[in-house]
Symmetry: D2
Subunit: 232 residues, 4 copies
C-alpha cells in the first residue's frame, strides 16, 4: 500500500519515501520517476531520532523549494498471535518501537513542518496515520499488537485535537482487512476468495487523498476501510 | 447542505430531491437545471409509506432510463434542549418519526433499487445517512434528540452489514458542528467567530461524493466531519 | 431475571413488580412474600401513560410510608432476525414501544420520585436499565431490535448526565449472553453447553444491587455482563 | 486509593502491597495488621522482571498456604499537560514503563498464579486494572499519558478475552475524576467544591470488591466510576 499511496500523492506533489531498507522504497521511487513524477527514497529509522533528523536534512537539501503538505505514517510490525504468558518481552518492545516510539518521533519531526505549510499549502497540511482493527479491539492472543496500535491511535487523537485549530489535519484510518500487495498475493482464501475480498491498496490511497483534500471546515478524524464482503 | 449535496451529485447524475414542502427543494432544483444539470423535486413524507411509494413511482416515470446510484437521508428535526421530565411525549414522537420511522421507510424503499443497480452503476450504489454528535452521545437535556439519532445510526449500521456483501455501500456521517446555510447564517459566534468555524455544506457534499466513489474493496462505514477549530 | 432482581432488592426494600399480565409477576410476588419479604404486583403497560399513572397511584396507596429507592426497566421485546426489507413496519413499532416509548414514560414517571428520595434514601436512588449486546452493535438482520436498544441507551445516558448532579444514579447494563430462566431452560447448547455458560439471573441481580449501593462519589454509568466463556 | 483497596480486600484475604518504595505501603500495611488483618509490603519495580520475580518468591515464602485470589494493577505516572512537540522523549518512556511494560510484566507474573487458583478460590480469581478517562480519550496535550493508558487497556482487554474462558476475571476500571487521598487533599475546588466531588477511595475499593465477587457466569469487563457531579 506504501507504493499506492506514494503514487497517488505523487500526482500532485514530489514525494519522499522513508524506510529502513532501500528495498522497501526503490521500486516505488523508480515507478513514480519513470511516470514523470518526482520521488526520493531515504533510509531512515523512525525509532532513531538522529536518523530521522538526518533524513529531513536530506529532504531540505533535495527539495529546497517545497514545504511539507502531507506526512503519512504507515509503519507496521509483524502480527504473531500468541498466548499472553508466552509472549517474549522483546515482542512487546518491537510493537512499542514501531507503533509508539517511531510514530512519536515522526510526529514530533513533521508537525512543525506541516504547521509551517498551513498558509501556503493548496490543501490543509495533513498527518495521516494507518491503523488496523487492532487499533480499537484487543483480541485474545494479540495483546502486544493491540497495545501498540491503541497507543498510536491515542497519540494521533491527542495530536488531532491540538493541531486541528492550527489548521493541520490529523487523521487516523482503521484498515479492517487484508490489503493487496506482494506480501499478500499468496493469500487466495481471504473472504472466501471473493472478488475484491482484499482491500485494493489503490483504494486506500484514494481515501487518503480525499482526507488530505478536505476543506478545513470539514475535517474527518477517523475513517474505517474494509472490503464490502468483510464480516465486522 | 441539501442543496450542496444535490449539486455535487448532479455533476454526475440526474438528482431527485424529496421534501415535505416544495419550498425546501425548489431553489436547489432550479439552480441545478439552470447550470445544465438535471434535477427533479417531489413532495414526499418519509413517515408515510404511501407518499414514498407515490414519489418513487413518479421517479420511475420521469427518469425511466436510470437506476438508483445513491440515496441520501438527510432529514432532521428541531433540537430543543429541555429537562427530561418536561419533554412533551409529542417531541419524542417527532424524533421517532423523522429519525427512525422515516429512515426505516426510506431505506426499505431504496435498498432494493440500489441493489438492482449494483451491476451497472459506475460506483457502488450508496445509501448515505447524515448523523450528528448526538448520534454517539446522549447529552443532558437532549434525550429525545439523541434517541432518534442513535436509533437511526443503529438501523444504518445493521443495514451496512447486511448490504455490504451485496455490493451496496451504506455509510453514516457524524456531522459535529454547525453547517453553513440560510438557517445558520445569523449564527456569527460559532467557534468564537473563527473563519470557517461552521462546516461548509460544500465540504460535506465533497466528502459524501468521496464516500460514494470508494471502491467496493475499501468501503468506509463511518466518517466524522467537524471544523478544524471545533472542540471535541 | 425479573424474579431474581426483585428477590435481591426485596432483601432491603418492599418491591413492586409491574407487568402487562399478572402471570409475569405472580410467582415472584408470592415467593418474596412467602420468604418474609414484601412484594406487590400491578398490571401496567409502560407504553400507556394512563396505565402507568394508575399503577403509581396504587403504589402510593399500598406503600404510603415509602419513597422510591430504585426503579429498574427490564422490558424487552422478541428478537427475530430478518432481512431488512422484509421487516414488517409493525415490528419496528413494537421495538419502539417497548424500548423507547415505554422507557420514556417509565423514566418520566419515576425520576421525580427518585429525586424526591435523594435526601432520605439509604443509597442513592437509582434507575437501572437493562440493555443488550444489541445496545451497542447493529448486527445484520437485527435492525429494528438494535434501533430500539440504542435509543433506550441514548435516553438513559442523557438522563444519567442530567440526574447525576441531582444525586440520582442512572445506570445501564449491557447483558451480553443468554440469561438463565424458564424461557431459556431448553437452550442447552449455549456456549457449547459449558457449565455456567448462561448468565445466572441471580448474578445480574447481585451486580444491579452493587450498582444501587455505590456511593454517590463513585457512580458507574455502564457495566457489561457476560459469561466467562462468552466470545466477545 | 491503594490503601482503601488493600483494606477492603484484607477483610477477606491476606494482602501484599508492592511498591517501589516502602513509604508507599508502610502506613497501609501497619493499619491492616493493627486492625487484625494480615498485610505484607514488598519493594518491587514492575518494570524490572527480576525485581518482580524476587517479590513473588518472597510472597511464596511468607504466605505458603495461599493462592493468588486477586491482583490489582494500580501504578500510575504523573500527568503533565504539554504541547506535543515539546514533550521530552523521556516522558513518553516513563508512560510506557509504568503503563505498558510494568503492566505487561505484572500480568505475565500473576496470570499463571491466578489460573492456578481457579478451582480453589472462593471467587473467580481476578486481575483488576485501574484506568482513567485518558484510557478512552486522547485529549490535546496529554498525548503520552493517553498512549500509555490506551495501551494498558488494550493489554487488559486482550487478556480478558483469553483468560475469561479459563475462569480468571480480568476487569478494567475507568476512573473519571479526582480520587480522595493525601495527594489530592489540597484540591478543594474539584467539581466546584461540591460535597463528594472527589471519588472516595473507599467507594472504588467497594466497586473493585464487587467486581471480584461476581459469579463467573456474569463477568464485567469494564466499569466507569465518577462522582455524581462530574461533567462527562
Amino acid at each position: 500500500m506504501r507504493a499506492s499511496v506514494a503514487a497517488r500523492f505523487a500526482k500532485a506533489y514530489p514525494v519522499v519515501l522513508l524506510a529502513r531498507t532501500a528495498a522497501t522504497y526503490e521500486g516505488s521511487v523508480k515507478a513514480i520517476n519513470d511516470a514523470g513524477g518526482k520521488a526520493i527514497g531515504i533510509n531512515a529509522d523512525a525509532t532513531d531520532r538522529a536518523s530521522l533528523d538526518a533524513a529531513f536534512e536530506t529532504i531540505a537539501k533535495e527539495l529546497p523549494d517545497y514545504k511539507l503538505a502531507a506526512a503519512i505514517y504507515n509503519a507496521s510490525g509483524g502480527l504473531k498471535p500468541a498466548p499472553f504468558v508466552e509472549i517474549d518481552p522483546q515482542v512487546l518492545e518491537s510493537s512499542i518501537d514501531v507503533n509508539i516510539r517511531g510514530f512519536f518521533n515522526f510526529a514530533q519531526k513533521t508537525l512543525p513542518l506541516l504547521e509551517d505549510a498551513v498558509s501556503s499549502s493548496p490543501h490543509p497540511p495533513s498527518l495521516i496515520v494507518t491503523g488496523a482493527t487492532a487499533s480499537v479491539k484487543g483480541s485474545a492472543k494479540f495483546a502486544t499488537f493491540a497495545a501498540g496500535k491503541w497507543a498510536k491511535r491515542a497519540l494521533a487523537q491527542s495530536i488531532a485535537r491540538e493541531y486541528g485549530p492550527k489548521g493541520v489535519h490529523v487523521a487516523h484510518a482503521i484498515i479492517d482487512g487484508v490489503i493487496t500487495g506482494p506480501r499478500t498475493e499468496a493469500y487466495t482464501g481471504v473472504n472466501g476468495g471473493a472478488p475484491d475480498g482484499k482491500i485494493s491498496a489503490d483504494s486506500i490511497a484514494e481515501t487518503y487523498w480525499s482526507l488530505h483534500t478536505q476543506h478545513r471546515s470539514g475535517f474527518t478524524w477517523e475513517v474505517d476501510i474494509r472490503p464490502y464482503v468483510e464480516k465486522w
